[in-house]
């Protein structure tokens, strides 16, 4: 069975710094998708970034980028020029390529951006 591990329960950085959140996963599948979601105190779960396993190029979305290491089964999220609004819980999630499979979630990392 697939599992997702986020080893950092909580992190804090100063505003404008760069921070990296780690995520590892375990699967025997070759085709899958990986996601980072953000859940601010307002509790709405927001999609941050998505990576397709068959693509070697790392996904980027403005200040957010990932370091996808398929062989190591690692999927870290880098936030550049962090802003106060980045304060949130960040969840890593895995999904098998088959549409019949569900999202598998990590336990989350609480990120605090300090002014």
């Amino acid at each position: 069975a697939q599992t997702v591990t986020q080893s950092q329960p909580e992190m804090s950085v100063q505003e404008a710094e760069t921070v990296t959140l780690s995520c590892t996963y375990d699967t025997s599948e070759n085709n899958y998708y990986l996601f980072w979601y953000k859940q601010p105190p307002s509790r709405q779960m927001i999609l941050v970034i998505r990576q397709e396993a068959y693509k070697q190029q790392n996904a980027t979305e403005n200040r957010f980028s990932v370091n996808f290491q398929k062989a190591a089964k690692s999927f870290s999220l880098k936030i550049s020029d962090s802003q106060l609004g980045d304060t949130a819980m960040y969840f890593c999630a895995f999904k098998h390529a088959d549409s019949n499979y569900q999202l598998i979630w990590g336990a989350g990392t609480k990120l605090i951006i300090k002014p």
């Binding site: 998708y33 996601f35 979601y37 307002s42 509790r43 709405q44 779960m45 927001i46 999609l47 998505r50 397709e52 969840f91 999904k95 390529a97 088959d98 549409s99 019949n100 499979y101 569900q102 999202l103 979630w105 990590g106 336990a107 989350g108």
Partner: protein, 113 residues
């Protein structure tokens, strides 16, 4: 373009009661998934609906049931409420096409007393 909407935003019930939560998917989406999120934890998958049928189910008892309507909106029903059912209930919609991401609603906070 309206995103995923859920109602109500908050709900207080007592043990043994029944509750119905509602979700309207993002325009163009055909699949709805429901999650339970306890405080400080990640979401736990309850079930997923597509073409008005339950397609997948997580490790939840039969007290949790659902429905999807022809307009793709969905309901989550919980019978015989327990204190442990207190949680944030999240609805997510997506396209059935493989790899399409799920988009979440704001959630319904359920408190069982």
């Amino acid at each position: 373009d309206a995103g995923v909407t859920q109602s109500p935003t908050h709900l207080i019930k007592t043990r043994g009661q029944q509750v119905t939560l509602r979700c309207s998917p993002k325009s163009g989406h055909d699949t709805v998934s429901w999650y339970q999120q306890a405080l400080g934890q990640g979401p736990q998958f309850i079930f997923q609906y597509y073409e008005e049928e339950e397609r997948q189910r997580g490790n939840f008892p039969d007290r949790f049931s659902g429905h999807q309507f022809p307009n793709y909106s969905s309901e989550l029903n919980v019978n015989a409420l327990l204190l442990g059912d207190s949680a944030l209930y999240l609805c997510a919609s997506s396209l059935r096409t493989r790899g399409r991401p799920q988009y979440f609603g704001p959630g319904t906070r359920l408190l069982v007393l």
